[in-house]
Amino acid sequence: MSTRAKKWYLLAAFLLLLPSAAFAGDIQINGTCVLGTCPPPSGTSDALQLGQSIGPASGSYLLTFADTDAYSITWTYSAWYNAGGTEIIVNPVATYIGASPSVGNDAIAFNFFQNYYDNSRGSWDGAYTETVPLALLGSVGSGSTVSAQLFYDGQGLGLVGPFGPGYHFGQNTVNLTGLTASTLAAEYEFTFDFAAGTLTGASASSGIPEPCQALPLGLALAGLVCSRLGVRRRSSYTT
């Protein structure tokens, strides 16, 4: 391999690994830290500083309970800190993958940690907003619920849920005070409770899952096909 090609490969590898290099984005599932350090330490080592961002990044984890009920957990997240403020976007999805109905009541706690660091004077005080879409879909056992809440330095913005099956949405804005440290610790907590009797493919998430995401895509594709047909028809008229 030429030296020039090697340099390009190294640069590409560096750029690909950059999102996972630091800046937090740490994940804990039922007490097990599956990504990074949970919770991340104060200071610069695991935090976003002004002008920095992380993601979009994704990952997965297989969670098996003692009673053999098994769930596939996937997630995507991104976060940034700029002159406009701090922002977090996270979407965990838990899907029951057992072949037979679940045996026990399975509570899944998904915690996403993101630290921000700014040692300039002043405080992080102000209006904080959580926007939470939640979905509990498929054949879930009776009594299954989903809920979520965002915390900054331990101060909650309000619990959204718990909700039963279907699509749900909640939004809260709270004025937080006392955030005077250099590090601001954000923690997004999701709780997915699957009751016994849940069937394969049932899922809990903080987003609109595949069929709804596919809808605009399908519409756009239909538009594309129509426009192509229109072009063909026009050209057949002109020839």
Partner: protein
């Protein structure tokens, strides 16, 4: 005859322009679904927003 010679480059330029516009249109048509999907995905997740340090 001379007029034909002059109009040929103009015709070529016109057809090049038409081709470029068609290519752009095709690209836009193919890119549209992915753009829509990307924008949709962004809106379909839990978000949190706060002020900068001040």
């Amino acid at each position: 005859m001379e007029q034909d010679k002059n109009s040929e480059p103009a015709e070529n330029a016109k057809s090049d322009r038409r081709e470029a516009i068609q290519k752009l249109g095709r690209f836009a048509a193919y890119a549209a679904p992915f753009t829509v999907l990307a924008l949709t995905k962004k809106a379909d997740a839990a978000t949190g927003h706060g002020p900068p340090k001040h």
